[in-house]
Amino acid sequence: MAALVEFRNVAYRVGDRDILRGIDLSIEQNETVVLLGRSGSGKTTLLRMVNRLLEPSAGEVLFAGRRIADQDRFRLRRRIGYVIQEGGLFPHATVAQNIGLVPKLEGWAEERIRTRVAELLDAVGLQPHVYAARYPRQLSGGEKQRVGIARALAADPPLLLLDEPFAALDPVTRFEMQQHFARLSRAFGKTALFVTHDIREALMLGTRIALLKDGRLELVARADEFPGATSQEALAFLATVTQSVTSNHDA
């Protein structure tokens, strides 16, 4: 199967500082690749190169087999769902308007947008008649995040980019959202690039895990094989999981 996204020897430099170097990575159809790494390792920077929020200093990124540098950036972005913390919702627009934004940009008919919005609200577990007319300030953090995901899914994009979407949520809500996301991405058959620094989340949601360290890919492994990884950074991440289990036993 052809890769949906492909990074070829990608680098990103600011001044004389290398933020990313020699990144080779591909994302296959229907898989979720998790970008795992410490704070400052370059995860967000790499993610933002896929929808051309940033341009690589060297190398190239391909989407659906074509160099993104040759594609119209606005059309490209409308085909890629993007989810950030708290959703980045428009505060002056209702939930329905927020979700219907990309379909509207794409020129869908009002009626079709309305149907789609209701369908998506249902899919993310929010009752349309309760939430459609609300403004973001009338939502909890978890509800905002659900709306953010619904918005990213609105025009049925072949790819989702998610940057620590659940980081600001309480542990219980986060867990629910993670499970919900896993179900959704299976149901919608989505391909996703998911950024996190949470190893549990990576293991739970990833088909494969790409581990970033200081702007380099240290390891790319299937999620079920990741716990057996022996690289130094992988061990450091894995230790945080076993460590917390041990301390539970001590208590």
Binding site: R78, G87, L89, F90, L105, R151
Partner: protein, 201 residues
Amino acid sequence: MLFNEIVRLSAEHLWLVAIAVVAATAIAAPSAVFLTRHARARRWTLGAVNIVQTIPSLALFGFLLPLPFIGGVGKQTAVLALILYALLPILRNTVVGITGVDSMVRESAVAMGMTDGQILRDVELPLALPTILAGVRIATVTTIGTATIAAAIGGGGLGTFVFRGIAMADTKMILAGAVPAAIMAITADEVLEWVERRFSY
């Protein structure tokens, strides 16, 4: 008799202010949008407009008098000076309103494939509108006050009473100009604040 003149000069005053504020908005708001896209031009322009603001109004009127075409004693010189004063609050508030849009909101707008024009029209301007309107309100209230001085160079309006009162050492005459101007300023402030709230989200 005096009452009729108060009404006439109030109307003239209001007209002067309205022209100045509308013109200043028409100039400042689009310029501010341009400035939000050009950081260097923004520093220079805001600096220059700031300097104009610090010139005492009477002195500014004095500077404009000898200018050909636009200068000279009369309404157009007065209006020009009032426009220059009204520019800054509107310019500054529009810039602040737009640059103050949450960076996450802007980022998601870009990431969803909105063009710069769409972001301006559908995201930045609606979100900045209350701040822009606050600028217009400040400009209006200030202009109502400054316009009284415009009478010194033939601008007419309520300042006519004030200057006549000063010349004749007639306190009542001064009040006949000052009180309506104050009422006008307070009313404008209230009304525009109400408009501002209506456009907050």
